[in-house]
Amino acid sequence: MKYVDEFREAGVIRKAAEEIRRLADPERQYRFMEVCGGHTHAIYRFGLKDLLPSNIELIHGPGCPVCVLPMGRIDDAVSIARDPNVIFTAFGDMMRVPGRDGSPLEHKARGMDVRTVYSPADTLKLAQKNPDRHVLFFAIGFETTAPSTALTLMRAKSLGLRNFSVFCNHVTIIPAIRAILDSPDMRIDAFIGPGHVSTVIGCRPYEWIAKNERKPIVVSGFEPVDILQAIVMLLRQLKAGEPKVENQYTRVVPWEGNRSALKAMAEVFELRPYFEWRGMGFISQSALRIRSSYAQWNAEERFPVPGVRVTDPKAAQCGEVLKGALKPAQCKLFGKECTPEHPIGALMVSSEGSCAAYYNYEHRKTALTSIGASA
């Protein structure tokens, strides 16, 4: 089978799966949260669940930036872009996320100047090419992406670019983890730490999770072997009763993170006192806003922002799914009203959203499942 051959490490995968079965205590339940949406995607794509014993449950965390953005933020930014002089720019993931009055793509169909960009740097070029228009960049993402926005703002400032601003929705991962640990209905035994956020923040910011909360956390890569190895490391920690921060993804994540990136973020951003997360409510100091020294490039300072708040449709259970209290298929709208083609909630839009990942992969028997079955 060609697909199996692609996994040169099929033997290693099998070994890791065996090791997990050996380490897991059959008498207890394990609930591990993968914080990052990239992991959620990989877990479904490879059918990793089928390689795990049934008493290990993987809970999908809040690490899909598109999924946690409250709908009203889209309506707020769109209200700025109603001015025909404004060019609305955002990453492709954002384009199909519905606001109250439709997604950016639908607004484009109705005549708004909406453009997909692949890099924030390109928004500057767009502004330079269109000196008579205003270019608005809808910025979104965790610490992986925030430094790029920060540097873009620094560039805009040094260019003295006047027709450019950023509508900032950057969020930070640590307060979200804290909120999950503080939430009374969440019982998580350990965390699979985010891979690419950690290239920026490093591993130190997770130390309190091990030290104060006594929960193991292992920063992990995105291949099947990586994730299974991370689970092995978590089980070993739980067995030894010594929670700590470990780095499975050393090939990409330096323990100290990326200092220049952190410096750029500190130069441009400060913490918002609080920010709303879809499905999780307001979390204090969980998002970034643009400092007053960059106010000229801050869309929220430059334009009136209505501050729209939209509640999700009653039947949509994005919040519960986002917190891991419900599985995607348990939402009443799943696969019926809400599909990747016609998403109602953001979890169905991004490939990192657990509903889309579940929809796309769960019913497909993957090659890995057969590796697991023959193990």
């Binding site: 990989a42 740097a121 070029k125 993402g141 790029s148």
Partner: protein, 90 residues
Amino acid sequence: MCLAIPARVIEEANGGEFSRALVEVMGLRRHIDTGLLQDDPPRTGDWVLVHVGFAMSKISEDQALEQLRTLSQLGEQEAALSEVQGYEDS
């Protein structure tokens, strides 16, 4: 937005106010911003991980090849390529 994409530096860009480099990703050449690696700027021949048009970290060739394999396992190679293709290159 893709996972980080490994790229090889073809030419350190000098000149201009901002640090940039010409890189190659799976045969495709584009300029990227290297300003987030100011402490340790990448040189010609180095490998970097790219996210939304910015070099995020320097990696070894082996690590780069592993990361390429990760992308292909995740079925994200094409998405990565079209992302890089999307970078405005003027």
